[in-house]
């Protein structure tokens, strides 16, 4: 049984954006503390600290969670994805591109969380209805209230990603065409 005494520290290992990391944590640290303080991944924002605003949303084993409500020790051996993992090879993710195009960013504080909730949705379907999108970001508050642009951006990103996917599967002999899902996202 792992035991971290009050005030004591321990090392946990897990994967962040595909990379194995080891970080020293206190028993009562939260995932957001580990990300921001331990790993200096400050893209993830802390808003309310009580799971109501979604600014700290990251993916844990592919599922959207509030990183302010995840005890650090529960992350041992698991896979975490943050907004820093979205851009690949110097190119922003289609979701990020769409957010820029649709001016879905005002003050920007909710954006990383919005992107991660949207990412979880688009991995499930590239044909989301407006309702699906609204539900997917229902745990993310935008104090600037720019929801309309955010929803259009997510819709647009889905469309573009679907088109790109169709193109890729055509190019690769259409063998994977019936697979569906989110593909490389």
């Amino acid at each position: 049984m792992r035991e971290v005494g009050p005030g004591a520290r321990t090392t946990i290992s897990f994967r962040v954006n595909g990379e194995a990391v080891e970080v020293e944590v206190a028993g009562d640290d939260r995932l957001i503390d580990v990300l921001r303080e331990g790993l200096r991944l400050t893209g993830t924002k802390e808003g309310c600290g009580i799971g109501e605003c979604g600014a700290c949303t990251v993916l844990l084993d592919g599922k959207p969670v509030n990183s302010c409500l995840v005890p650090a020790l529960q992350v041992e051996g698991r896979e975490v994805e943050t907004v820093e993992g979205l851009a690949k090879d110097g190119r922003v993710h289609p979701l990020q591109e769409a957010f820029i195009e649709h001016t879905a960013v005002q003050c920007g504080f909710c954006t990383p969380g919005m992107l991660m909730s949207a990412l979880a949705l688009l991995r499930e379907t590239l044909d989301p209805t407006k309702e699906d999108i609204a539900r997917a970001i229902s745990g993310n508050l935008c104090r600037c209230t720019g929801y309309h642009q955010i929803m259009s951006a997510i819709e647009d990103a889905a469309r573009k990603m679907k088109a790109a996917e169709a193109k890729t599967s055509k190019a690769s002999g259409a063998s994977e065409a019936s697979k569906g899902g989110g593909g490389e996202c």
Partner: protein, 294 residues
């Protein structure tokens, strides 16, 4: 002065967890998905209050999560998340009102982490799953190293945020009879907004009708408006044996509202709550009868 920091233990077996909890009694608190405990720690820290000395993380104990079904009985492990329950084909078929209740919890992020065991043992009067479990007459199994006790879910509660669980006891699972196809059910919740709203009021209803359309069995369990989660038998009895018509449904809904006032006494909010409880109950009963009376 910063509040004392809690320690953290991750038991790998039920026995380890149970022993640690018994040994540290008042100083230890179980943590599952963390969606209530971490919020409470933060609030307490800000208020300058004491933290528990230990958090006991039961998330690595094998066998505590998942939905299963065996000869008509559905059981749900305590560590099963709201999201898993909401999506479970077994629950959607055999207890769809519980799937609805789980869907109404918090937000997608909270539903991925929050567990049914945590929802029950946190014992919030506004817990979303409890009215649904009450209407399903769900039972719970609670274990300590010496054995397992079996208890009606509604009997676990001793007051708001208080359960009968002793130090060292851990909720294993809840179980109930799958609803037959002749049953209709509904869960209706009122919150201040759609997502992340704490229930101001909810009502769970299960109605079984015989071949003649008469109500053979009724269960009505309001949430967030009674001192303790419970069914309202006096209202259920007003439906049993009847082919439900408007008069019968109205009478049962009125009885639920009146019973709430009898159990809570008249409060400042009674003027608001009484007609609302009646209206929401009516809506839930009609929905359980297959009529959407929005």
């Amino acid at each position: 002065m910063s509040p004392r920091k809690p320690g953290y233990v991750v038991p790998e077996t039920l026995a380890e967890a149970s022993e640690f909890l018994r040994e540290h009694a008042e100083d230890a608190r179980i943590i599952a998905g963390g969606t209530d405990v971490l919020v409470q720690l933060r609030r307490r820290g800000r208020a300058g209050g004491e933290h528990p000395r230990w958090l006991v993380d039961i998330s690595r104990i094998p066998g505590l999560a998942g939905v299963s079904t065996d000869s008509g009985t559905i059981s749900i492990g305590a560590m099963t998340t709201h999201e898993e329950i909401a999506r479970s084909p077994i629950i959607r078929k055999g207890g769809p009102l519980l799937a609805e209740a789980c869907t109404s919890v918090g937000s997608p992020q909270i539903r991925e982490r929050g567990t049914i065991g945590g929802n029950i043992m946190n014992a919030s009067p506004a817990a979303d799953t409890i009215p649904a479990l009450a209407a399903l007459s769900a039972r719970a199994r609670i274990a300590d190293p010496t054995g397992t006790r079996d208890i009606l879910v509604t009997d676990i509660f001793e007051g708001p945020y208080e359960t009968s669980a002793q130090h060292g006891e851990i909720l294993l699972d809840v179980y109930f009879d799958a609803l037959p196809p002749s049953c209709g059910c509904a869960f209706v919740k009122l919150g201040r907004r759609e997502a992340l709203a704490i229930a101001r009021l909810s009502v769970a209803v299960v109605l079984e009708r015989d071949a003649d359309g008469r109500v053979a069995r009724a269960a009505i369990a309001p949430g967030a408006c009674l001192p303790m989660p419970a069914r309202v038998e006096s209202a259920e009895e007003m439906l049993v044996g009847k082919v439900p018509d408007e008069a019968a449904v109205d009478a049962a809904a009125r009885e639920v509202a009146e019973e709430m006032v009898r159990r809570t006494g008249v409060r400042w909010s009674t003027d608001y709550k009484k007609p609302v409880v009646e209206a929401v109950t009516k809506r839930a009963i009609w929905r359980a009868l297959g009529v959407n009376a929005e």
